[in-house]
């Protein structure tokens, strides 16, 4: 494959100002139970080559399945033909410089999830599902396992030639309770597919799904009769997945430089963040420090090189609440005069071209101690846990989130369980109201498995690290 891609790039050099090629072999395994019966038993494999060329400033990309030389050469010809047919972009600038990526890299794991017998994985899921069904009143129980492997070979007309192999694994459980017109769900360790890390089967086992199942089921049933989240303004504590999603939607997407430059206006939208805001835009309070770190151990946004061969590294995004950087590509970085790409180009398999994506966009820990310490230091407020629904406008400014469960905080203690918790806000005001972030001992990665962007659509798996944080004067009970 290395030879084939190198030769393709040799051919492309004469007809394109720049070209790159990626061979990607993907393997996915999804297993799940549903009400005690095995549900998904899916195994997906695919491989192919995607070739991207830049001709007179216009991009062409063609993807073809398989590894045959004739098909790969036809794909290159198709990419060139498509690029050449486009209206020219005479003012297109150069790509930000980058030393050619060379070498090999693999993510680590202790036990290969694809080598673990199916029966062993299913036994864990069946046990977890049984634990969920110990609670009367639960209508639907689910337990999930997911394993991913992505092998990539990348070459470019600038001499890059590198290989990467990434293994990801994880899972989760959920229980749905229904009573007349009311339906409530609780999930562990997160909703929307659970928690996946760049790791092996050992990570799935560490989740201890069967042990958490009875609590999850009991909370789902308890939510049916819990008081509804009241409407008003209050102090809000966020932790885990909900805080990670808040970072994802209102910080991560807002600082994608393609959005900032208007390139995603036709689909994902734009951004309220100005392209010239580095160093001057106050995004949040001085406690808000965010880093896009492609080296976070276990993060789904970790890699040695992105999908245009830029080496992954930590990129400061917010420091003391002030904008310090963007998620960028070689093209977008060059357009605003940055010395180097942020290394954020990622593609969903061989059939999609790389676009600006999140790596691991992490909220750095603060000095506020543990979550218990933070609750103890809060007189009156609300703790919302686990995401149920999310929506944010196309400038990433006005958002509305719903959680699975909330707890009242009164006099520094966790109080009643509340159902249907929701909150809304405006991004810079919300992050400006952040007055506490818990300490490094509380810092955890969460995973989001289905971040959608691009046309044709691309789904990306990303992680966000954070420690619980507190926000003042937030509107709650909006849905």
């Amino acid at each position: 494959m290395r030879d084939l891609l190198t030769e393709l790039m040799d051919s492309a050099r004469a007809r394109a100002g720049y070209a790159d090629a990626r061979f990607v072999r993907s393997r996915v395994e999804r297993l799940s139970t549903r009400n005690g019966r095995l549900d998904e038993l899916d195994s997906h494999e695919s491989e192919g080559i995607g070739i991207r060329v830049r001709v007179r400033g216009a991009w062409g990309f063609a993807a073809v399945r398989g590894t045959e030389r004739a098909d790969a050469e036809a794909a290159l010809a198709r990419a060139l033909a498509v690029a050449e047919a486009q209206p020219a972009v005479p003012d297109a600038g150069p790509l930000a410089p980058e030393p050619p990526a060379r070498g090999e890299w693999s993510s680590g794991f202790e036990r290969d999830p694809f080598e673990v017998p199916l029966e062993e994985k299913l036994a864990v899921l069946v046990a977890a599902d049984a634990g969920l069904r110990t609670e009367p009143g639960v209508n639907l129980t689910r337990a999930r396992f997911s394993g991913f492997r992505t092998e990539t070979t990348f070459a470019s007309t600038e001499g890059a030639l590198c290989e990467q192999r990434v293994t990801e694994c994880g899972g989760g459980i959920s229980a749905v309770a229904v009573d007349r017109g009311e339906s409530q769900i609780r999930s562990y360790p997160a909703s929307h597919g659970g928690h996946v890390e760049q790791a092996g089967y050992e990570h799935f086992l560490k989740l201890e799904l069967p042990g958490h199942a009875p609590r999850v089921a009991a909370e789902a049933v308890a939510l049916l009769s819990a008081p509804a989240c009241p409407h008003g303004r209050t102090t809000l504590l966020l932790a885990g997945e909900q805080l990670g999603l808040q970072v994802h939607e209102s910080v991560g997407h807002a600082v994608e430089l393609d959005r900032v430059l208007g390139r995603e206006a036709s689909y994902a939208g734009t951004s309220f963040v100005p392209a010239d805001g580095i160093g001057s835009m106050q995004f949040g309070s001085e406690l808000v420090n965010v880093t896009a770190d492609a080296t976070s151990p276990g993060g789904l946004g970790s890699f040695r090189w992105d999908d245009e061969g830029v080496e992954g590294r930590p990129v400061p995004i917010l420091r003391d609440g002030v904008l310090r950087g963007f998620l960028s590509s070689r093209e977008t970085a060059s357009e605003i005069g940055l010395d180097r790409s942020g290394g954020c180009m990622r593609a969903d398999g061989f059939t999609r071209q790389p676009i600006v994506r999140m790596t691991n966009v992490n909220l750095e820990a603060g000095p506020a101690g543990s979550l218990d310490d933070l609750i103890a230091a809060t007189d009156d407020g609300l703790l919302i846990e686990t995401n149920r629904s999310w929506s944010i406008d196309n400038r990433r400014l006005h958002f509305q989130f719903e959680g699975e469960a909330a707890w009242e905080i009164k006099g520094g203690e966790r109080g009643r369980l509340l159902r249907n918790p929701s909150y809304a806000g405006v991004t810079p005001e919300f992050w400006g109201s952040c007055d506490a972030v818990c300490s490094p001992s509380e810092w955890r990665l969460i995973s989001l498995l289905d971040c959608g962007k691009g046309e044709p659509g691309q789904v990306m798996r990303v992680s966000h690290g954070s420690a619980p944080a507190r926000f003042r004067d937030v509107e709650v009970g909006v849905a």
Partner: protein, 467 residues
């Protein structure tokens, strides 16, 4: 890998080879995609994507469980390996006891979809697309606005086959389809934007200039933008917004799996009035304006399925698995998204909402003293599915209605309301229907849309500002 003339259909032959290797009782679904998408932003091309790929899905039922595996290789060795993975999964599942899946059966031969393929569209000609882009750029420039959007065409071939031992009838079938979609979002220097889109089986139906004109006029509508506080307002929803609402409703209310599990919004409500009497919603796979399909992912023939008739809940959509779970004589209605059933359940992909008596959107606005005109919704998500409670923001063409007509732009708003409640408060629908598609193509391309009119509804709940 060229955009040349359409080739012979091969999906059923690949499916037959796959099913043969998977053995008795198995099912194979093969989907070939050749597509081209041109993207543009601010009056210049930004990305273009040509795809030539195939997905072979093999499903093996065993003791009521379904093991599934897929590959994008079509040689015999790869198909045999894929079949082996599916069989291995099914056997592993059976070790935990029997499941509910009754097996793949031979479907009835009821309705044949029509006009699914246009040879010219299947050419996937980048020059045609580039000409469309140039036209959109030109019209946008005349209006002093930026043009953003996509132009995309595809040829898709889908075939299925059953393994041996199915008695009688057809055991393999294939269908070739084309689809074409273009959308234009124009953005004025003021930041105001307008939207127009078109979807069809035929690329020649995409009128780039007309779309750009329509989007530009919205973006440059006169008047200072007004703001409305949160509250309830009468609304005229254009067809793109109605399409979103109908598709969201489908996930909450017409999903036979959720219905069978007691989670569906129509649980216990079949036969009840759930919408205004003017609401007639069906899944109509052969409707002249839809993107027609002859069969679903389990090879089941598609036929019209009434969902809401004269405002009364009539039924839900099933695949084989959810129908078996529902019992009471329920059968698959041809809405499977994957062989053996998608984990999320079945989904109607050819929704048609019947039109009403209003001549156009202007007539819908006429009775409104003060209200909101919504072109499209964005970032919609279900909040509480059993209540069909959703939230979304308006985008690309929101206007204030005063004294029966649109008077000026309106700052975008967040809508948080129940879709069934909106349909219950619907007071009029436009006569004409339009095929609305978002042109979102995640994974293997699956073009679908909702054929719907514009509508007027009272007391729609907005919970905040947006944009």
């Amino acid at each position: 890998m060229t955009g040349g003339p359409a080739r012979d259909i091969v999906a059923d032959e690949i499916a037959a080879r796959a099913a043969e290797r998977a053995g008795p009782d198995s099912f194979a679904l093969v989907t070939l995609e050749r597509s081209l998408m041109l993207r543009f932003a601010a009056g210049r091309p930004t990305q273009s994507t040509a795809i030539d790929d195939v997905t072979v899905e093999i499903a093996v039922p065993f003791h009521g469980h379904v093991g599934r595996a897929s590959t994008n290789a079509v040689d015999d060795a790869a198909l045999a390996e894929c079949a082996e993975r599916a069989k291995l999964a099914a056997r592993a599942a059976a070790a935990s006891g029997n499941g509910d899946f009754p097996g793949f059966g031979e479907p009835d031969d009821l309705v044949v979809a029509r006009d699914t393929f246009d040879p010219a569209t299947a050419e996937l000609d980048p020059a045609s697309g580039a000409a469309g882009l140039e036209e959109a750029f030109s019209v946008a420039a005349e209006h002093g606005v930026e043009a953003h959007g996509i132009w995309t065409v595809a040829e898709q071939e889908q075939g299925w086959a059953l393994g041996d031992d199915y008695p009688g009838g057809q055991d393999a079938e294939a269908e070739r389809r084309t689809d074409a979609f273009m959308k234009v979002i124009c953005i004025a220097p003021s930041g105001r934007s307008g939207y127009a889109a078109s979807s069809s089986v035929t690329a020649a139906d995409l009128d780039a200039g007309a779309l750009a004109e329509q989007a530009a006029r919205k973006a440059t509508a006169a008047g200072e933008p007004a703001e409305l506080p949160p509250g309830e307002y009468p609304v005229v929803f254009e067809a793109p917004a109605v399409g979103w609402l109908c598709d969201l409703l489908a996930g909450c209310a017409f999903n036979g799996l959720a219905h069978a599990e007691g989670r569906g919004a129509l649980d216990g409500k079949i036969g009840d009035a759930v919408a205004a009497p003017a609401i007639n919603l069906a899944d109509s796979p052969a409707h002249p304006r839809t993107l027609p399909r002859a069969f679903d992912a389990e090879g089941t023939r598609k036929w019209p399925l009434p969902l809401i008739q004269d405002g009364v809940a009539h039924g839900v959509a099933y695949d084989i698995r959810s129908a078996a779970l529902a019992g009471d004589g329920a059968v698959t209605t041809g809405h499977a998204l994957a062989p053996g059933g998608d984990a999320a359940g079945p989904h109607p992909t050819n929704l048609v909402l019947a039109g009403g008596g209003a001549a156009d959107e202007a007539e819908l606005c006429a009775p409104i003293e003060r209200g909101v005109y919504v072109t499209r919704l964005w970032y919609a998500n279900v909040v509480r599915p059993k209540e069909t409670l959703i939230t979304a923001v308006t985008r690309d063409g929101t206007f204030l209605i005063e004294d029966g007509r649109i008077t000026r732009p309106l700052r975008d708003l967040r809508l948080t309301d129940s879709v069934l409640s909106i349909l219950a408060r619907t007071t009029a629908l436009s006569r004409d229907q339009t095929l609305m598609s978002d042109g979102e193509f995640y994974g293997r391309r699956f073009a679908y849309g909702v054929v719907c009119p514009a509508l007027r509804a009272d007391a729609v709940r907005f919970t905040g500002a947006a944009g």
